[in-house]
């Protein structure tokens, strides 16, 4: 693997920064949860028994969890679980990782629970559990657990404890997929150094924003592509927002497709002397071919999503004359193969978050209470498919 880029000087003093700067949130730990007779915990989960559109196949299933925990298990209560595009693809059955359908929750048909990441609070622990205790916050070590649920049992080995000090459930609940993806893509594919550039599309996505901020921390410059909004003022606002996050340049797809854009990039990069080493692609199709043209010779396009559902067309010139490389990245596979580095990275990103160096992604919170209707939850999931959203959907659990 290439060497990690050196951190900028300002990062060295992380420990010295006063904690007071970091956002603080009221304790969420002491709330009571719904109990059934004999101490059974009443839980709800968004499940599906066959693949299809979320609105068609999701249903809200209620079940109860026994108070006598197996010795290595934990009872968890959800605090915040996001709705990521991949979760939708998974439900549609067009995602490579397919969760097993089981009868564990007592659904009439074997089912799987939607969602792949989130922040949970430990409600109680089995006798032999050592590493976490009641009140701790955890995230799942692996994707595929099924996180859209109010409560769940998990094994000690499934979870990664995080220090909740100075963090919100949303920050913790959204750390393991998008920021980690951005982190690895900028670090593992090319030896990119301070002062060099990367270019990305989907720049306002969760991953895109994480890349902008990590890049800024690491002294990388970025060209960021967003889609033109129907309303030019909204486009300008989005540009401004990303610039404030730390983007070096923000352009729209139509500016990217402009004939003169390559010259523009040349000008920005000091006549091409500053290399554009990495391209991050979550869109595909024609605009990505235009993005590829901006990469420096021997650059690397890393694809991690296909929002436009269009394949990539590689011109001869790209591969042969510019010697570009094309790879894909998939964070679940990476995490499973690198558990220790994953933990270290999560802690590093959360520390940056505490210090205010890693801003929250805009979210559309949907409060999931015990009384929240199934249709409300399903609408939230289905809504994730539309473009131009004000923020990523996140279930925030209230009175469950």
């Amino acid at each position: 693997m290439p060497q990690l880029p050196t951190l900028r000087a300002s990062n060295r003093s992380i420990a010295a920064l006063p904690r007071a700067l970091a956002p603080r949130h009221g304790p969420l730990t002491c709330r009571r949860f719904k109990s059934g007779p004999y101490g059974y915990t009443q839980a709800k989960a968004l499940v599906y028994s066959k693949y299809g559109e979320p609105a068609d196949v999701l249903s809200l299933h209620t079940h109860s969890i026994s108070p006598s925990l197996p010795s290595n298990s934990l009872l968890l209560r959800a605090l915040a679980t996001p709705i990521n595009p991949a979760d939708i693809n998974q439900i549609q059955g067009v995602y490579p990782a397919k969760p097993p359908f089981t009868s564990l929750l007592g659904t009439s048909e074997p089912s799987a629970v939607g969602g792949n990441e989130g922040c949970f609070e430990v409600a109680s622990v089995g006798a032999s559990v050592k590493s976490v205790s009641k009140g701790d916050w955890i995230i799942m070590k692996h994707t595929g657990f099924g996180t859209w649920r109010t409560h769940t049992l998990a094994e000690e080995s499934d979870v990664l404890k995080v220090n909740k000090e100075g963090l919100t459930p949303i920050q913790v609940g959204t750390v393991s997929v998008n920021p980690c993806t951005a982190y690895r893509m900028l670090k593992d594919f090319e030896d990119i150094r301070e002062g060099q550039w990367f270019i990305q599309n989907g720049a306002n996505s969760g991953v895109g924003r994480a890349a902008i901020q990590l890049g800024k921390q690491w002294g990388l410059k970025s060209i960021n592509i967003i889609r033109d909004r129907p309303d030019p003022a909204a486009t300008e606002a989005m540009k401004k927002e990303l610039l404030e996050l730390g983007a070096t340049k923000v352009v729209t797809e139509s500016e990217l497709m402009d004939k003169g854009f390559a010259d523009q990039v040349k000008e920005w990069t000091n006549g091409g002397r500053e290399k554009v080493k990495i391209g991050l692609n979550c869109v595909g199709g024609k605009p990505t071919s235009a993005l590829v043209k901006c990469l420096s010779p021997s650059g690397h396009l890393v694809t991690y999503g296909g929002m436009s559902k269009q394949p990539l067309q590689l011109p001869t010139a790209a591969l042969i004359f510019k010697d570009l490389k094309f790879s894909g990245f998939w964070v679940s596979r990476w995490s499973d193969a690198n558990p220790d580095e994953k933990r270290r990275m999560v802690y590093e990103i959360l520390e940056m978050t505490r210090l205010g160096m890693f801003k929250d992604v805009p979210v559309q919170q949907l409060t999931w209470d015990w009384s929240t209707e199934e249709s409300v939850l399903k609408d939230a999931v289905q809504g994730t498919l539309g473009g131009f959203r004000a923020g990523k959907g996140v279930f925030v659990y209230g009175d469950t």
């Binding site: 011109p315 790879s327 990245f329």
Partner: protein
Amino acid sequence: MSASALAFDKVGSTPTENLHFHHFDPPDLQHNEVLIEMIAAPVNPQDIMVLLGRYPVSPSFKIYEESIPGYDGVARVASVHPSVLTNGTLKPGDLVIPTRHGVGTWRTHAVLPANLLLKISPEVDCRIAAVLRMGVTPAYLLLEDMAVLRPGDWIIQNAASGVIAQFVTQFAQIRGLHTISVVRDREDIEQLRAELQSRGADIVITQSELEAKGAASFEKEGKRIMLALDAVFGHSGSALATQLSPDATYINYGSLGDPQGTVGIQITQQQLFWKQITFKNFRLTQCLGMRSQAQINDMMTWFGELAVKGFLQIPRVETVQWSESVIDLIRLQSEDILRGSKFTSKIMASWDNREVTNRHLLPYVDAESAPPEVAAALNTLPFQRNIFKLLANAQVNFPPFMKLLATCWNPDLSLRSSEYQVTVLRTASLLDAPYEWDVNEPVARVLGFDTDEKLHLIRIGDLSNTQFFTPRHRLISQMVFQLVHDNVVSEATMRQAIELLGNAATMEVMMIHGVYSMLARIMNSVRIDFDPPIPGLEDKLRKYNAVAIQKEKEAAAQD
């Protein structure tokens, strides 16, 4: 000494428009310099790119202010400056190949600094030696540098009839890897299939067969397809990518099918992000650049050893005599490549080294000192040939053999003389017997195969042109192919032959093939030398074959 070279004064819009044939006198040797005589040099697709100004490395040497192309080839050291002898690297007689791109091999002689030449084992076949740099080396590096491969893994490659691909197959075998070789659709696919399989390809499949199979079809059979090697780009390249298994690598190393770069290849999200296939490019210069000159030299030396031990077989190439007319062949070849015409095999110019070779392993028997019966047999033909002088070592067999041999061109045969020549020339090319080709080519010329083009087609075994060749010619060619490859003519072909040729001619083809395949094997085994030019050969042949020529003319008029 008459030396000659091809050189171009400027890059052209076609590869040969500025290519000229020059005679020159090699300069005197300076300190550390070596005079070499080229033995063979191929026409590679890159050479054509050089002539078009589309290759990153330009030629390093000039003659009359013009650049000398050709980056690959093999030569023999003719003489060296005394300073070279003292440091002991090269001596006259050594077999050498260039150590760098740009050396300019399309010439008969060159004076070069010794460090531009690498000595290789004298036993390496010249046709392999001549492509060590641009054929063998890329094949090896494609498997070595571009992906981690494990025994049992599969490789899928296109342009599989090409030289590089054929060496890829052979290196794959050495490393316990399997290959799926994709070739363009063609009529004589079975012949090519057999040929590539005989060099180690596990599966040979045409482009349309591959497309009909659908994506990931080999993977579904349980094969791990871990590497795609694409020299074509465009649709063919995309089709390779669809067959790759998770974590595989796709490498492009040429764009034969998309020279204008208009089509490109298509990559799906599924390939990139679910299967985590990496797409990248191969550059020979880059891979060589990661190695020291000493490492490169050791690698080439090892390739030579592999060739000598028989691990690397001679690829399908067509050898032509070096002369002014190679320009025409290069033009045809490059037009084919640029136009994407099918089924060209690499041409390799070879230099006539008659005065230097004297490698025969058995003595040449002289008519004057031989017993009378042997001497008489030696004079069967109106001119001397080395092959007869060698055969005469078997004093008892030789005289009756010559009688048998003479029956092959007996005008009373039911086989026509042009058919006899197809039998002989196909035997010579399939058994790779240049001497046999060389002595029979003039005969073929007087018997109706009177143009370079016709001979070229016979040499590569493409007898599909109905203007030049009859159905009988094609059938005979097929019989010879089966005899060489399978040791047996298939029953279906036999039945066809009996129908089309008749009983007598069918048997005659097989007997003539028997005689000439024996001769081919003997010639190659005893390391026969080419004959010195025979003055007035054509006239002699016309006179000697007058009856046959007349019959052939009459027959042709009837067709």
